[in-house]
Amino acid sequence: MRTEDILRAFIVDELGFAGAARDLTDDLELIEAKVLDSLGIFQLVTYIEEECGIEVRDEELLPANFSTIASLAAFVDSKRAA
């Protein structure tokens, strides 16, 4: 499964996304659209650390990496490749 789809599934199933999965596009601004708040981000970090076997450092927890599913997937994939 693509990283994007793993992330999308987690947001829909575990973070109570109240829309249809198809509305959760790769480019949707997750924080502006109030899909993710501080606690949602926190859960998401814990999940990707466990699921993708990476470690997210405090200073990597930034809008640049977490604003959209696309940016998150790019971040996760680059950490995996490292």
């Binding site: 575990e14 501080s38 926190f42 859960q43 814990t46 200073e59 930034l62 809008p63």
Partner: protein
């Protein structure tokens, strides 16, 4: 004697130090003098628009200089403010507006799209006052934004209204200052009605106890419809301190929040524990990170002790205080966490009554609980609410005669407590199905009523799963008569209850397990929903 109406505190601060910054809102700030003048102008406008003493006026805009100017204007007009959660669905806001008869609403241009749905949901609005200049122009260009029969007024019109003396302070200490709506088990939110005196009895104690002074910079993290905001706003104005509005964006990422606190030089922080837990775990804090922060207050839910201890280790210069109290009583007890933190993991106490407040536990038999004996916490004194708006019956159940035979009514909190040998109360749990999540009070029954309205739902049970970070996660078990997606139920719920009450997951099944008496077996469901034990971070 210090005046016992809230807006008189603003007037006093404006006289004492007109140039001192009252509110910092991102790049903008406003001085006490200016805040006083602008809220006077707006109050005159409101009075001119027909707002009467004793009226309720809604606040429907993001927390901002404008929103706070609106609050003081409403109070100066002798009315009470009703902060509406801008993330709550129109259906719920419509109920609130009907319940407390909101005829006038202070809003912002970017909220214009929500006015129609609000009126469609039955809000009896007659006037909407738009408080931001830029968007007010857009609103006046596009009158289509105004729902039929509602007049939309732009605030700049206030400048044209005849200038004159300050509007007469009609309100007295025992008049209603604000109504905060909380989750109700019957499916409708209930309006906790508080007076100027209720707020200031707590605020005055806190200002003295925590020595809040003009040099302080207080955080404003909680939204205005959440009662933590009462300390932020009114301790700051009483002390003539500066209030720093914490942008929602800044608190999303813990290390950004840490930087914001440092750069804003916040000296007194107040929030729910979950935000502080994130700061402790992910804030990238070092011992020297937040040199200005001297006091950290928290309330709303239990702070897991291991996270609290970690944060105290990272902020050795700050005092930590647990504040406790349902919205109905304001803060009524406090516990100053000893430092250095002891190496123990049991929950810290909620502490003892603040000055002037009476807190005591009553056993099931109706006797005063002895130390060591479990009882329901009762609270009496000047911080206790007047009642639930428009619901005398529920008010009477909550505000009962003092079981010890004393004068005046006391509030039954529904919280079970025990007094420890040191004289501090420990919180043990609830008598009913009210739970906390992220500091918000949630009646599981209200979510169940919302779900039951869906045509596919036969019956449902909403359970709270204890969680280290957010206190509880909400899960729904639903028996359905026809296939339906969990996301459809989530969407349906989100139209009826605020986001923080929408279950995180929906387990769909043909039938729910029953107890021998035929009731839904909630205990079994809660057990089934427990996650696998995880390694604690």
């Amino acid at each position: 004697m210090t005046s016992q109406v809230i807006h008189a505190r603003l007037q006093a601060a404006a006289v004492a130090a007109p140039a001192r910054p009252a509110i910092v809102d991102g790049e903008r700030s406003i001085s006490y003098g200016e805040l006083d003048d602008r809220s006077d102008e707006l109050a005159r406008l409101l009075v001119g628009l027909g707002v009467q003493p004793g009226d309720r006026v809604g606040l429907h805009l993001e927390k901002s200089i404008e929103a706070l100017t609106g609050i003081y204007a409403i109070l100066k007009a002798g009315a009470a403010y009703v902060p509406l959660d801008s993330d709550a669905p129109p259906m719920r806001l419509g109920y609130i507006a009907r319940n407390c008869e909101l005829r006038c609403l202070l809003s912002a241009g970017d909220k214009a799209v929500e006015w129609g749905p609000l009126c469609d949901a039955g809000a009896p609005l007659e006037t909407i006052v738009v408080l931001d200049e830029v968007l007010a122009e857009a609103a006046s260009r596009d009158r289509a934004a105004a729902p039929a029969g509602v007049r939309v007024v732009s605030e700049p019109a206030a400048v044209e209204s005849p200038a004159g003396s300050a509007p007469r302070a009609e309100a007295g200490a025992d008049d209603v200052a604000y109504i905060l709506y909380t989750s109700g088990s019957t499916g409708e939110p209930k309006g906790v009605t508080l007076t100027h005196r209720n707020a200031l009895a707590f605020v005055d104690w806190a200002v003295e106890r925590f020595a809040v002074g003009p040099q302080d910079r207080l955080s404003s993290h909680a939204p205005l419809h959440f009662d933590l905001s009462i300390f932020d706003l009114y301790a700051a104005v009483t002390a003539g301190a500066t209030l720093v509005l914490v942008p929602a964006q800044a608190s999303v990422f813990p290390s950004q929040l840490a930087r914001f606190i440092a750069e804003s030089q916040i000296s007194v922080w107040y929030s729910v524990p979950s935000i502080l837990t994130m700061l402790a775990l992910r804030g990238g804090l070092a011992e020297t990170s937040l040199p200005h922060l001297r006091t950290v207050l928290f309330a709303g839910e239990v702070f897991p002790t291991k996270h609290l201890r970690r944060l105290m280790g990272l902020l050795p210069g700050a005092a930590f205080v647990n504040l406790y109290g349902p919205t109905e009583t304001n803060v009524c007890t406090y516990y100053e966490v000893p430092s250095p933190a002891e190496d123990r993991d049991d929950a810290i106490p909620i502490g003892r009554a603040i000055d002037g407040v009476d807190a005591f536990a009553v056993t099931d038999e109706g006797a005063l609980a002895e130390p060591g004996e479990v009882g329901e916490l009762h609270v009496g004194g000047p911080t206790v609410m007047r009642g639930y708006w428009g619901d005398g019956e529920r008010s009477e159940r909550a505000l009962v005669p003092d079981p010890r035979g004393g004068e005046g009514a006391v509030y039954r909190t529904g919280d079970l407590v025990v007094e420890d040998p040191a004289g501090d109360f420990l919180f043990l749990g609830r008598r009913d199905s009210q739970v906390k999540s992220r500091g918000y009070r949630i009646e599981l029954g209200e979510i169940e009523r919302a779900l039951e309205a869906h045509e596919a739902v036969v019956e449902c049970a909403v359970v709270a799963i204890p969680d280290d970070l957010v206190t509880n996660r909400i899960k729904a078990f639903v028996a359905v008569r026809e296939p339906v997606e969990g996301s459809e139920l989530a969407r349906f719920c989100a139209q009826r209850v605020p986001r923080y009450m929408v279950p995180e997951s929906f387990a769909l099944q043909d039938a729910l397990p029953k107890t021998s008496t035929g009731k839904i077996d909630r205990r079994r469901l809660a057990g089934a929903a427990q996650p696998e034990p995880e390694e604690a971070r």
